[in-house]
Point group: C2
C-alpha cells in the first residue's frame, strides 16, 4: 500500500471539516494533506488519495471541528501592553489622559516587539492565523509576527500634526517613508503583506491621503484608514471640509478596491452606496465599538449592498482581547437585536466574515480564508470534547454561539504547526508574558500616569 | 507556632482577593480560612490568624484572582440537550417547530437528570456556584445539582392549558403539587432552596398566579416568572386583561420582595417604578435576549430606580452556554452602547450583578455572593497566568472584559472543593457527555424533528 507513497508534510484525519468554500461544503471524517505549506487535497475518508502519501506528521482530529484559520481585519497588536489600564471612562478622557500620554511615554521599538509577541501568543491560542495591523514601528510588528509564524497585513502608520492643512515637506516625508517600507517588505516574506495605514481623515491632511493613495496604488498595496468611528468625527470633518468623512475620502479619490475602512459606524445610506461602488472593504470591530460606545456599524445594510465586511478586534486597550471567536458571537447577537430579527447574521454568515470574507477584505482570499486545494494551509482545529460544546448538532452554531478562543487546540499557518494540543511551538510564552509585565511595572510606578484602579481607596 | 493550632478545612493563600463586600474591599496576598463550609477569616498575609490554624488542605492562589462564586439567576438547565439544535430562526418557528415539540417528545426524568448533570459540569467549570432554575421535573434538577455540589434555587414549573380563564380544579392541583414540593425540599439540604416558577403571565391564569403566590408566601419562598420578554407578550396580555404584564401582576397582588421577574425587556418607566416599589428582583439575560432578538431590558434605568438586577444565562437552547463570565462582558458592552456612554455599566457594577446582586435577587445575599467572615465558602479562583489576561492592571476589568469561563481554575461551594486545577471532583464528565450524546443521537434520528443543519445540502 505504501510501496510507491509520495511525501507529505502533514495529514489531518477525522472530525468535521468546514471548508468555507463558496458552496460551504462540509466534509465529515475528512483527510486533508499538506505539502510545501499548501493544501494538497481535502477529501473524505473514502478517498484513495490519503493512502498514496507517507506523511511526516499525522494529526488525529476525531471529535474536533477543522476550519480555516481566522482572519482579524483590525488590530493594534502592541496595545496589549495597555489592556484594561483605564476602562469605563468617557472616550475623550480615556484617549487624552491615558492612551495618548501612554503612547508618547512608552511606545518604543522594544515595547512594540514585546507587545506584538504577547498579542501573537493570544491570537494563535484563539485561532487567528492572519491579522491586519497598524501601529508605530510597524516593521517590528511585521518581523515579530513573522517570527511567531503568523500571517500579517502590516500597515505602516501615518498621521499629520494638522489634518486641516497640507504640509508639503511632511507629505514628502510620508511618501519617502512609505516607499522605503514597501520596498523592504514587498516580496520579502510569504507571511508579510505590507500596507499603508493613514490613521484617519481627522489626523491625515487631504494632501497626505492623496499622496499615500498614489504610493499604495503604484505598489499595488492596500490603504487602511479608520472611518466614521465616532459621531464627533462627523462634525469635525464637516467643519473642516464641508462633507461627511466617506464623501471626503471619495472626493479626494482615496477610495478604491484596495482600501480598508475600519469601523464605519456612522454611515448614511448614500455613503454605504459609495463604499459599495468603490468596492471598499470594511473592518467591523463590534466589541470595541460597544465597549467604547462609539457607534453601531450598519453591517446588515452594508452586506446587503454587497460591501465585503470582515471582523476585527481592534487594539486590546479597547476590546480587551484578541479573541475573534468571541467577536463572532457578539457580532451575531448585536445585529440580531438591532434588526429585532433572530435570523439576521446567522452563524454561517458570521463565520464567513471571520474567515473568507475577512481574507477578501485584506485581498488575501486567493491565499487563505477557506480550506481548498491549492490554498495555503492556514488551518485551526477546535476541540469539542467538553461540556460547553456538547451535544453538537451544528458546528457553525457551536463555533459562533458556544465556543471561545480557548477551544482551539491546534493551529497550522502556511503548513507550519504553530500550536499543537494547546502548546505554542513558536513563542516562549512565559518570556513573552514577563517582558510585557516588566513594561507594565514601569507604567504602574510612573507618577505621570494615574491608573484609576490603583488610585482608588478601600483596599487592604 | 503550631503547638496550639486549631483545625481548619482549607486555607487559601496568595493572589488578589475581591471580597465584593459593600465597601468592595480588595485584599492583596490574602489568607482565607474555611471551616465547616463557612469562611472563618479573610485577612491579609500580615494577619497572625493563619498561623493559629492547621489546615487539612492548602490552596496556593499566587498569580490568581479569588472572588465569590458567580450567581446565575436564570436557567433551564436540562435544555443543554437542545444546545444549537435550531438557531437563527424566527422566534415563533424556533418555539413551535422545535423547542415545544422537542420538549413534548423528549423531556422525561432521565432526560432532566442527564441535562442537568452536563449543565452542572459546564457551570462549575465556568465559575458558577449558585443557579436559579425552572423546568419540568424540578426535583430531579435539584437532586442532580445537590449531587454535583452546586447551590440551587429550584423553581417548580407551573403553567395552565388556558391562561385566560381560571380552572378551579387545575389551580387546586397546582397548589397541592407546590405544597408537596416545598414540604419535600424546605430544610432538606443546605444547597437547595425551593421556589415556585409560574412560567409567564401568558401561560398562567390569574387564579393560578394568585394561588401560587399565596403558597409561596405561606412558606416564605420565591415566586419566579418570565415577564415582558417579547413585544408580542405586551399585546397578548393587553388583549386578555387590558393591561401591560407588570401592571397585570401588580393588580393580582403577585408582586412582592420574594418575586423574581425574568427578562423585563419591555417595561415603561411606570412599570419600572412598580417593580421598584414592590422590591421585585429582576434577572437580566442579555445574551439570550440578543440572540433571540426579544428585546433589550432597561437595566441602567432599573438599577437607577433601586431595582436589584442579577445576570442570567437562560437555557442553552437560547444562549447557547452557561458562561456567566461571558455574560458579564456582553451586558457591559450592550448597555454602554445603548447609553452611548462607555462609563455606564462599569466592570465593578457588572461583577456585582454576577455575584452579590445576583445573590440578593435570589434572597441568598446573607449566605453567598461575597467573601466575608461567616458567609458560606462559595469561592472561585481564576488563573491569570495566560497571554489573554496579561498585563493585569485591574482585576475587575480583566474579569469582565478579557476573561472567559475557561479561566476558572478552582471552585469551592459550601466549603467543598468541586473543581481543583481544572479537574471536576463531583461529576464524571465523560459519562455526563455520553449520556447527553445518547439523547442527541435519538433526536438526530427522529423523523418527526428536522434539524435544520442536517437537512441542508452541499455536504460531502
Amino acid at each position: 500500500m505504501n510501496t510507491c507513497s509520495a511525501p507529505l508534510d502533514i495529514l489531518i484525519t477525522g472530525g468535521t471539516l468546514l471548508t468555507m468554500s463558496p458552496a460551504m461544503k462540509v466534509v465529515e471524517d475528512p483527510v486533508l494533506g499538506i505539502r510545501d505549506g499548501k493544501i494538497l487535497f481535502v477529501e473524505d475518508a473514502h478517498s484513495p488519495l490519503a493512502a498514496l502519501y507517507a506523511p511526516r506528521e499525522r494529526i488525529d482530529a476525531r471529535g474536533c471541528i477543522i476550519l480555516p484559520g481566522l482572519v482579524n481585519t483590525h488590530t493594534h497588536a502592541p496595545m496589549v501592553c495597555f489592556r484594561g489600564i483605564a476602562d469605563d471612562l468617557p472616550l475623550m478622557r480615556w484617549l487624552n489622559d491615558y492612551i495618548f500620554p501612554l503612547e508618547r511615554r512608552y511606545v518604543t521599538r522594544p515595547f512594540v516587539r514585546a507587545g506584538t509577541l504577547l498579542a501573537a501568543a493570544e491570537m494563535i491560542r484563539s485561532g487567528t492565523t492572519t491579522f491586519c495591523d497598524g501601529y508605530f514601528y510597524e516593521s517590528t510588528v511585521a518581523e515579530t509576527a513573522r517570527e511567531a509564524g503568523l500571517r500579517i497585513v502590516a500597515g505602516m502608520g501615518i498621521f499629520d500634526r494638522d489634518f486641516r492643512r497640507d504640509d508639503a515637506e511632511q507629505i514628502a516625508k510620508h511618501v519617502e517613508a512609505a516607499r522605503r517600507y514597501l520596498e523592504r517588505w514587498l516580496g520579502a516574506s510569504e507571511l508579510v503583506t505590507p500596507a499603508l495605514f493613514c490613521h484617519a481623515p481627522y489626523t491625515c491632511s487631504p494632501g497626505t491621503l492623496k499622496a499615500v493613495r498614489e504610493v499604495a496604488d503604484a505598489h499595488g498595496v492596500f490603504l487602511i484608514t479608520h472611518l466614521s468611528e465616532t459621531r464627533d468625527e462627523i462634525g469635525i470633518i464637516a467643519e473642516a471640509f464641508g462633507r461627511t468623512p466617506a464623501r471626503h475620502l471619495e472626493a479626494l479619490g482615496v477610495l478604491n478596491e484596495r482600501t480598508i475602512a475600519v469601523h464605519c459606524n456612522w454611515l448614511d445610506d448614500e455613503e454605504i452606496a459609495i463604499l459599495a461602488r468603490h468596492d471598499v472593504k470594511v473592518s467591523h470591530n463590534v466589541e470595541s465599538n460597544m465597549k467604547l460606545a462609539t457607534g453601531m456599524a450598519p453591517v446588515v445594510k452594508m452586506k446587503r449592498q454587497g460591501v465585503t465586511v470582515g471582523l476585527g478586534t481592534d487594539g486590546c486597550a479597547s476590546n480587551n482581547d484578541h479573541d475573534l471567536i468571541g467577536e463572532m458571537g457578539t457580532a451575531a447577537r448585536l445585529h440580531k437585536i438591532l434588526a429585532m430579527d433572530p435570523s439576521e447574521m446567522d452563524a454561517r454568515t458570521v463565520l464567513r466574515m471571520a474567515t473568507i470574507e475577512g481574507a477578501r477584505a485584506l485581498g488575501l482570499d486567493g491565499i487563505t480564508g477557506s480550506l481548498e486545494k491549492g490554498k495555503a494551509a492556514d488551518i485551526i482545529i477546535v476541540d469539542t470534547a467538553k461540556p460547553r460544546l456538547r451535544p453538537l448538532y451544528n458546528p457553525y452554531s457551536q463555533l459562533v454561539y458556544a465556543a471561545t478562543g480557548d477551544d482551539v487546540k491546534t493551529v497550522i499557518i502556511a503548513g507550519r504547526t504553530v500550536m499543537r494540543d494547546g502548546r505554542l511551538l513558536t513563542i516562549d510564552e512565559e518570556g513573552a508574558i514577563e517582558a510585557v509585565e516588566r513594561i507594565a511595572d514601569r507604567i504602574r510606578s510612573d507618577n505621570g500616569i494615574s491608573i484609576p484602579y490603583l488610585q482608588e481607596a478601600e483596599r487592604c
